[in-house]
């Protein structure tokens, strides 16, 4: 049954365009999406999911399920990096372990978006408030990562490397992408409440265009991820294994928590995807600044070069299979 879901996932335009990008690199085609076009699509997608999430949050209100789910999501982004850290410490030093752990505690918005498209394709319902979970899971993992460095780093760490909490918190909360996502969520929320005609007029931009823009962006992500993969291979088999096993493990924990929260299958999948995905946006930027001892090629290449493609292609349908298995249908 999972193979069926995988096939259904793979034969959708977003995933096919992702492959098109990957294959371009493998065949050494000179196809490339020049900067800053990827940024345009990235901003567009964040703005659009934020706005749509805000609209639906206005509809659903802040009922107990919303609060519980978002709260649980934040907890996950605090707990998962700690687990990751101890697994990584088996082979890596404190700095690299903490930086990678932070990436895996945080989330990937594009993976989330692809999971939403997957659900829409299967006509499975999910709620807009999950976007709030997405937005709020980006930053906490950064803080945990830095606390891990603070408490586990060798005493000899140079004073110049002392953690400047203010600038870190700033970096974590006010990173451009996180800020745009949260801001658009607010705007969607306010617009839904006060200006219904504004909602309607945004719809062609934020709604109709979304799927195509997602395809275009995944084409670029395919190129970028495929270019990253060789760097991961150089990093050795431990990190390769980690980049696949860790998402599966995090997903499993995610499924259990989703079951406890009594989420429907759609919300459950999104919750699991948040747990299983790893950040290559806000986290690397913060880690580079605060843990310069960690190799950026490690934390970026694991998250972007392997975990991301794995999730897009196999992860999402596999997690759906897990959700279907562990969470009894009711809708």
């Amino acid at each position: 049954m999972d193979t069926d879901l995988i096939l259904q996932n793979v034969l959708t335009p977003p995933v096919l365009f992702f492959f098109l990008g990957t294959i371009a690199v493998v065949l050494r085609s000179d196809l490339e999406i020049p900067a800053p076009l990827p940024k345009l699509f990235s901003f567009y997608l964040l703005l659009a999911i934020g706005f749509k999430g805000g609209l639906e949050l206005q509809d659903s209100g802040f009922g107990p399920q919303v609060i519980q789910t978002v709260g649980a999501a934040i907890c996950m982004s605090l707990i998962l990096p700690i687990i990751c850290f101890f697994i990584l410490r088996v082979k890596l030093d404190v700095f690299n372990s903490a930086a990678i752990a932070a990436a895996y505690g945080s989330i990937s918005a594009v993976t989330f978006i692809t999971a939403e498209s997957f659900l829409e394709n299967l006509n499975i319902h999910f709620d807009g408030f999950m976007v709030a979970a997405l937005a709020l899971m980006e930053s906490p993992a950064i803080i945990v990562g830095l606390l891990l460095v603070k408490f586990a780093a060798p005493e000899t760490r140079a004073n110049s490397k002392r953690i400047r909490w203010r600038s870190i918190l700033h970096e974590a909360m006010l990173n451009g992408s996180v800020y745009l996502l949260i801001g658009s969520l607010f705007i969607g929320f306010l617009t839904a409440a006060h200006n219904p005609s504004g909602v309607e007029k945004m719809q062609p931009f934020t709604g109709k265009l979304f799927y195509g823009a997602e395809c275009f962006f995944l084409l670029d992500m395919g190129i970028v991820a495929a270019k990253r993969m060789p760097k991961l291979l150089k990093a050795g088999s431990f990190l390769i294994a980690f980049a696949i096993a860790m998402p599966l493990f995090n997903a499993f924990i995610g499924v259990m928590v989703a079951k406890m929260l009594a989420l429907g299958p759609g919300n459950a999948l999104l919750f699991v995807v948040l747990c299983a995905s790893a950040s290559y946006i806000a986290v690397p930027a913060a880690m580079r600044m605060t843990v310069p001892e960690a190799k950026s090629s490690y934390y970026i290449s694991t998250a972007l070069g392997l975990t991301f493609p794995f999730n897009i292609v196999f992860g999402i349908p596999v997690y759906m299979g897990m959700v279907n298995k562990f969470i009894p249908m009711m809708s």
């Binding site: 490339e32 020049p34 900067a35 800053p36 990827p38 940024k39 990235s42 110049s160 990173n175 451009g176 992408s177 670029d220 190129i223 970028v224 270019k227 990253r228 290559y280 946006i281 806000a282 690397p284 930027a285 580079r288 600044m289 310069p292 950026s296 090629s297 970026i300």
Partner: protein, 93 residues
Amino acid sequence: MKRLDLIFSDRELDSMLKALDDGGAPGYTVIKHVTGKGPQGAVSEDMEFTDLGANAHVIVFCDEEILNKLRENVRPILNYYGGVGFVSEASPI
């Protein structure tokens, strides 16, 4: 007169420019979206969509005394975050 070329991650651009202003640079030119390779590995255009950005290349033409002040201000940034700086001779047109 001297020419100073600084190349570093554009995330440090603001603090670098502040360091130059504080050091009394009479002006500077900034080229963004620059890529390259150095002791800390390669920086590619691909990653510009993440908020890691690319490199910035900053050029300063200034007198020797000012250069010495700039050197002091600039070195800690390059030491902490990486990046390189080179000096050569120049004269105003």
